[in-house]
Amino acid sequence: MFQTDSTTETFESRTDWYRVGLTLGALLLLYYLVPLASLLLSQSPGAVVERLGDGYVIAATRNSLVTATASTLLSATFGLPLAYWLARTNFGGKNAILTLVLLPLVFPPIVSGMLLLQVFGPAGLGGLLSVEVTRSLVGIVLAQTFVASPFFVVTAKAAFESVDRRLEYASRSLGKDGETTFRKVTLPLAKPGIVAGLTLTFARAMGEFGATLMLAYYPRTLPVQIWQSFLTDGLDAAFPVAVVLVGVAVVSLLVINALGRNPWRGESE
């Protein structure tokens, strides 16, 4: 069965194939890595720190933190029941509903912003209810929630699905009702995935630009401020603000990693 020649040949071709694949993959990683590295390397820390104290940076950071927190809480409140229902139901229209949830994910944020503007803007509900949406934190929260909440729903749904249903059945057959079972069994077991979902949602909300630009240009969040600084003073003015934003994204991912359960990573780990 083995001839030394053919064995060698197999090894060679296998090695080639591996090498090409690994090279392609490494190039992609490099493509992700270089821009990040350039950000960290090109900025003198002094210049960044100097700008950080500026009033407009502080205001933008505050706006971003407040709105992103609000959006995340809204996503959790409304998204948790939806995620649980999606994870557990056998309802026939489930796929249609899941598609609806995924739509904002693949939707261009700028289009989302336009649509929200039409629905909630002065010509729509906002005008009707006399709520100023286009120049308020409310508008920002609406935009961020629309764009970021599907991340929570999808991630929390995966977390709920990873909870063995038999544990819920066991709890209920022990005489505990659905609510108790959810609080004491399902939620604690799904917690790591839910926290990861919150983190992703928060990070996405922090970075939201397209929809916010359309719906509520002012008060400025960090991404809008970056855009504004870039338009007025060019790249160098925009970078310190970007550093703050990147810091939040990296911290978010570190939290996900620390929780050790990244919902994007599949069950095999």
Partner: protein, 354 residues
């Protein structure tokens, strides 16, 4: 206390269960069947995890139909225990207990008192099952449903726990349903056995009834009556049947059989290998033939015997010491007796139903 299942039916795209009628008093009912026969579905219907399409389940006279699982009083023990992994053993057991005294008593009886502060992940398979049982009983259920609780355990633990569990469960004064695909467990655990196939109960009765008088060919085969043959009825009277089987004639017990062709079976441990020196009584259905195969199984030997008069081989099981005493390795021509009372004829209903 009584668990009454009447006309229970459920169906999905792939599978139809029922109608099933079973009554379980304060006893252990083993539900025995191959994988996919609907055993677990039956338990899920009783526990309220699945909804039935038709039929009712009554427990102590209360109709459970439409009640959620938590209001049924039926504790379900899953195959691997389904212990809550984020809780300790103590937290698992006290989860549904209404008093500390119950917990102490149960953990003592089930010998899990020493494990109380362990996390679930560190338990062995046998410990896991005992904790699951303690947890289920701590909820003071009105009926206990066990789904293959010993299936994932290694042989020696399985053997030990089988007897322990039997003693423990038979002391409970509630109906216990014990689902398994293992003939031995069903027999050891159950006061009665219900044999299931393709979603319906094919036979229910005591272990002796089912093993010695299987109602259908399936029950015969699934409970280990591997010698299952077809023969023609030559003659019948009150005392028995006279069967033409290949080129030989057998005496068999009389049953309510009316057809001219019947199925009969004989368990491999009932086939008698006759010693050379023993006088032959031809009324004992003596067959001559040769040995085709001898397989050592550790605790016994399986001998495949080929009668001269029939095409079908007969399987014989001999305990190792008996086999050794017979010195079968020295000869291949032997005589075998299929005693009349060891032969079981499957009646027409049992054949038609398959």
């Amino acid at each position: 206390m009584t668990l009454e299942i009447s006309g229970l039916k459920a169906a999905n795209d792939a599978f139809t269960l029922g109608p099933i009628d079973l009554t379980v008093d304060e006893e252990i009912l083993s539900v025995l069947g191959p994988s996919g026969c609907g055993k677990t579905t039956l338990l899920s219907l009783v526990a309220g995890i699945l909804d039935a399409d038709a039929g009712t389940v009554h427990l102590n006279g209360t109709d459970l139909t439409g009640l959620p699982p938590e209001d049924r009083g039926t504790a379900y023990v899953f195959q691997d225990g389904a212990l809550f992994p984020h809780m300790t053993v103590r937290e698992n057991v006290t989860y549904a207990a209404d008093s500390a005294a119950v917990v102490d008593e149960l953990t003592e009886t089930l010998a899990v008192a020493d494990l109380m502060d362990r996390t679930v992940g560190t338990l062995s398979g046998g410990e896991r099952q005992r904790v699951a049982l303690a947890r289920a009983l701590a909820a003071r259920p009105d009926a206990l449903l066990l789904d293959e609780p010993l299936a994932n355990l290694d042989a020696p633990i399985k053997r030990r726990l089988r007897f322990e569990l039997r003693d423990f469960l038979s002391q409970l004064d509630i109906p216990v349903v014990y689902v398994t695909h293992d003939q031995r467990q069903a027999t050891t655990m159950g006061d009665r056995i219900a044999v299931m196939r393709d979603g319906t109960v094919r036979q229910a009765g005591t272990a002796e009834e089912i093993f010695e008088r299987p109602a259908t060919r399936f029950v015969a085969e699934f409970t280990g009556s591997v010698n299952l043959f077809t023969a023609d009825v030559l003659d019948r009277d009150d005392d028995g049947l006279c069967l033409a089987w290949g080129d030989t004639v057998l005496d068999a017990p009389a049953y309510g059989v009316e057809s001219d062709t019947v199925w009969f079976c004989i368990r491999p441990e009932y086939v008698m290998l006759l010693r050379e020196d023993r006088p032959v009584d031809e009324r004992d259905n003596v067959l001559r033939g040769r040995i085709r195969r001898r397989v050592y199984q550790g605790d016994d030997y399986v001998v495949e015997f080929q009668p001269d008069a029939v095409a079908d081989p007969i399987e014989i099981r001999l305990p190792t010491p008996v086999y050794e005493r017979l010195s079968l390795d020295d000869r291949d021509r032997v005589r075998v007796s299929l005693k009349k009372r060891a032969i079981h004829v499957v009646d027409d209903a049992g054949v038609r139903s398959e």
